[in-house]
Amino acid sequence: MSAHEQYHDTMKAAIAAYAIGGAEALETAEARALETHLSTCADCRAELADLRRVVTGIGLNVAAETPPAHLRSNVLSDAQRRANTVHGANHVHGANPVPRARPVQTSIVPWIAMAASIALVAATGFYALMIRQQMATAVAGKSAADVRVSALQRQITGLSERILVLSAPDAVRIKLAGQPDAPNATASVVMSPTKGMVLTALNLPQLAAGKIYQLWVVTKQAAVSIGTFEVAADGSVTGTMPITAEAALNPVAVAVTIEPAGGVPSPTGPKVLVGLLAPQ
């Protein structure tokens, strides 16, 4: 094998990581060498293009999940706001062209003019710096406030959903008991066939990677999946989930199982919490 072929093979070995994570997946020198090699090697460019298709396929194979409903309106109102800003800025610019700076009068005593200019430049520079700092502080403050507002909005949405379920006239409370795989776990579910379910659980064990908790309503016909969830570091979780018509029909029990990440259509893993509904 020639030295050139050997080098080509060394570069090929780096393409996989580069296709996934770009230059950051490699050491700096290796990434630079690969990028130089790619600029001259059509074979490696073709391989990289193919591997990028593969990598996109990895992302597309992740289980899709429905984002919260409020997110769609956030995305659209954000776009609308940006559109208005751009439009507004153009409008102002068109109607009020930026005034041209007045020409500086030359003084009879040139050095006075020069000293004044230097002072003006220094003052302007200082002023610009001050404004920039104030702007940066204001922008940072605004984005921190935006983050807090959107966290609060999420909490309010979560709480309102919970109140709707808890105050529903058809709501029933079911206590769930820990099973041998999670003997210390306790939970309660409030279930309203019309408004949804609220689950509050404590002391659930942390799961291994690739595993997730899944909540089920067991009816006389089948176990109906309500959804998957993760727990906080202390093993607790609380949240609201919608209930399906199928789950609302003749429910007899509520259970939580451990399942592969992404959830499964019917329970396969160990039960960690089980609660029976009082007979109707």
Binding site: A13, A14, I15, A16, A17, A19, I20, G21, E24, A25, L26, D50, L51, R52, R53, V54, V55, T56, G57, I58, G59, L60, N61, V62, A63, A64, E65, T66, P67, P68, L71, R72, V75, L76, D78, A79, Q80, R82, A83, A151, R154, G158, L199, L215, S225, I226, G227, T228, F229, A232, V237, G239, T240, M241, P242, A261, G262, G263, V264, P265
Partner: protein
């Protein structure tokens, strides 16, 4: 319903309706991927918002010859989510302090989602089948690189595997999936 490239053209000319339609078609994939990487739903929501803001800003720059719209969205999502993951690792204390109680998320099994059905026969379906068939170690390296953003050296360190072996196995894994694309 319009095709993705038509929607992007409409978005580029300022149609928020088209943005809404694109969101309806792809937000579940974007949110699913962001949440797979970041775990916390609120972090994933932020990524969804950022990705669609970027679509709104950069729709003109989209080149259909380089990637499908779904591929473009997935690429942006992964990049932004990994950046956030790295930033989070750089300030773990702050992150812990703000750690909220996770909110339950309804999620269906992958095999039941409309997206998965729509993928049947496509590149992604073939990649998915090949991915599921990979030996566990190769799969682990791919997961660490793609979903955790680790470099080859970091994977070698994390798994206690020689760097040369990491490189070979990652390449073998991607080549297996590449072969599945052309089969």
């Amino acid at each position: 319903m319009q095709s993705d490239p038509h929607l992007l053209a409409a978005i580029a000319s300022g149609s928020t309706e088209a943005l809404g339609e694109l969101y309806d078609a792809h937000a579940r994939v974007v949110f699913g991927l962001a949440k797979r990487i970041l775990v916390k739903p609120e972090d994933a929501e932020e990524i969804v918002q950022d990705v669609f803001a970027q679509v709104w800003r950069d729709a003109k720059k989209y080149e259909s010859s380089r990637a499908s719209v779904a591929g473009w969205l997935v690429m942006m999502t992964r990049t932004r989510a990994i950046d956030k993951l790295r930033a989070r690792k750089a300030r773990p204390d702050l992150d812990q302090a703000n750690d909220p109680v996770p909110i339950l998320q309804a999620s269906l099994s992958k095999s039941l989602t409309p997206e998965a059905l729509a993928l049947a026969g496509s590149d992604a379906a073939r990649v998915g089948a090949a991915l599921d068939g990979l030996p566990a170690e190769q799969r682990k390296f791919i997961d660490l690189a793609y979903f955790e953003g680790l470099s080859q050296s970091e994977i070698a360190e994390e798994t206690g595997t020689p760097l040369g072996t990491v490189k070979t196995r990652m390449r073998t894994a991607l080549q297996t999936m590449r072969a599945a694309l052309s089969s």
